[in-house]
Amino acid sequence: MTDSIIDVQNLTKRYGQTIAVDDVSLRVEAGEIFGILGPNGAGKTTTLEMIEGLRQPDGGTITVAGFDVVRDAENVKRRIGIQLQSTSLFDHLTVGELVSLFAELYGADGSPGRTQDLLGMVSLTEKADDHAQTLSGGQQQRLSIALALVNDPEIVFLDEPTTGLDPQARRNLWDLIRSIRDQGKTIVLTTHYMEEAELLCDRIAVMDTGTIILCDTPDNLIATLETTGSISADFTGVQPDEALFAQLPGVQNASLSGHRLTLQTSNLNQTLIAFIETTRERRMEFDQLITTRPTLEDVFLHYTGKALRE
């Protein structure tokens, strides 16, 4: 029926009066990093946990690796690895013991050799004998990713894996996630970081208030807004007149901050040409001309009318 490794159709979840997930359909292809992007409370985690079989959907169907998640949860659990948002682990066990224990719980190989391999994969070899509570935030996330790999899963689910990490740790984790993808596994992750979605994910579903607004590659998503952008410049001579520039073709908004003029436009090329002609005619001097292409942030803003919180 389909080649997609995950096929979600018309998924719905209600909590009392609130509809947390509203008629969500999506497909994830084998071997890709699929991101669900949205602000907190958009329904990302609920969607993910229903796909993982941790929450019962109120409606819709979910097929993972060919198995129906609701009816055949056991088969699904054996084929997926999960990392939950903000799970702490058993106290008083070492990192190595935790990896070995979870491997055994999956009926997988919990031997010291295999444990070492997994810890090596997530760069925690030296931490094998430390207790999990003593690890840094980034190390704890890497440990929970190691736990998501103990059963050599086909699909790995990561719920906000980089939240709360410093930029360096975040970049290290991206490399780790890419290396897992390169082993032939499929990765589904949630994030509320634009940059992460744009740089890490092969495809993105943009989610807000329980629905998926768009689903495509980052480049295609941005291309839908190809013509939009902004132009800004520092005027060195006379003060520019905002009203004058606001009348240029394509300009949606013109603002002046000190000597710096910023134009938001729906047609970057047209506005840029007009801007240069206007300044030349009037002999207005400027430097630091900057044009920006749209980002996912702009895409999100454009389709939801609100900004993502970073």
């Binding site: 702490s88 979870f102 055994e104 919990g110």
Partner: protein, 359 residues
């Protein structure tokens, strides 16, 4: 099966490496018993004995002098009025008043026993009686010249530690089951560990059974230590078969674990679980006859006492350990405990939650 074994081994490591838990599991009951044992225990606390009227006979004087030299007795020799007011004030455990007997070679001894602490009094009385019998034999070479009359005593033949040990075992099983289990389990839920386990193919019932197995084994280990200390330090005589005792201990462990699971099912977080655990265990500790017999408790309290599982466990253990009863003699206790355990597990399965209620 290997996953069950791995989980159980991990459970053991978690408990053994948790110093606070270990203190409450092992240190606390042991300290409890040793402390109470030395405070009230036979042979370890000096018995305050008053003697009066010994002047009536040289034998009585000899007995009084010998008693003064005996370890464990603190002897006061005064006139009858002084000693009787001393026992009224609680300063004497036993007062012996000698008087000339009816026959020429006979000696009467009225023995007054302080009833404010029945258990301790029993120890004192039996010690005094034992002493009188031996001393008399040594001094006179004749048996039973002294005619003792005991006032106000329904004497039972065991001492405080023998009375207390089954109580301490009950407390240990109760705290281990109710408090240790519920606070760990609620913490597992609060931290999302239960949800993480739900994401694995490892079944919930095995996860719970693994925890139960660990707790029961630890409880048995704990009780072996308690009994060993009681035997070594206080010379406690266990009159029963250890099998009957083990049956009660294991059933009791399950009963209190089931109550712990009920607490876990309803408590939203660890603070609530700890408070609920204390609220359940503390009254039981005092109402179930752990420290003193409940026969003298007011009538209106008796039905409540009769509802507490710890009452049945402690009574059963006492019958078995001290009075030498077999399993058949404590069937009622066993049935009540099993009934409580089954009801507890059913309730907690029905109300089981994977996650904290919030969010």
């Amino acid at each position: 099966m290997t996953s069950f074994l791995a989980m159980t081994v991990a459970n053991f490591k978690m408990i053994v490496r948790n110093r606070t838990a270990m203190f409450f599991l092992l240190g606390f009951p042991v300290i409890f018993m040793v402390l109470f044992g030395f405070l009230f225990g036979e042979g370890e606390t000096r018995l305050h004995i008053g003697i009066a009227g010994e002047d009536s006979s040289p034998i009585a004087i000899a007995i009084a002098e010998q008693m003064e030299q005996t370890d464990g007795f603190t002897v006061y020799r005064n006139d009858v009025d002084h000693e009787m007011s001393a026992i009224d004030d609680g300063d004497r455990l036993v007062v012996i008043v000698f008087s000339e007997g009816t026959g020429s070679a006979q000696l009467d001894a009225d023995i007054y026993v302080n009833q404010s602490n029945p258990t301790f009094s029993q120890i004192g009385l039996s010690a005094v009686e034992q002493f009188l019998l031996q001393a008399e034999m040594e001094i006179t070479g004749q048996p039973r010249m002294i005619q003792p009359t005991v006032a106000d005593v329904e004497a039972e033949s065991f001492g405080f530690i023998e009375f207390f040990l089954p109580g301490v075992i009950g407390i240990a099983l109760m705290t281990n089951g109710v408090q240790a289990l519920s606070s760990t389990f609620v913490a597992f839920r609060e931290k999302g560990i239960l949800r993480r386990i739900k994401g694995t193919p490892f079944p919930l019932w095995q996860f719970i059974l693994s925890r139960i197995t660990t707790q029961v084994v630890i409880s048995v280990f704990q009780i072996v230590i308690l009994v060993a200390i009681a035997i070594m330090l206080f010379d406690v005589q266990i009159s029963s078969s250890y099998l009957a005792m083990a049956v009660l201990v294991v059933i009791g462990a399950f009963t209190f674990l089931s109550i712990g699971f009920i607490v876990s099912a309803f408590a939203g977080n660890t603070d609530v679980a700890d408070a609920a655990g204390t609220l359940i265990t503390l009254p039981m500790m005092f109402l179930s006859g752990v420290f003193f017999p409940t026969d003298d408790a007011p009538g209106w309290l008796q039905p409540i006492i009769g509802l507490l599982p710890l009452t049945y466990l402690v009574n059963g253990l006492r019958d078995v350990m001290i009075r030498g009863a077999g399993v058949e003699a404590v069937l009622l206790e066993i049935l009540v405990l099993i009934g409580t355990a089954v009801a507890g597990f059913l309730i907690s399965v029905y109300f089981f939650r994977w996650e904290s209620r919030s969010a």
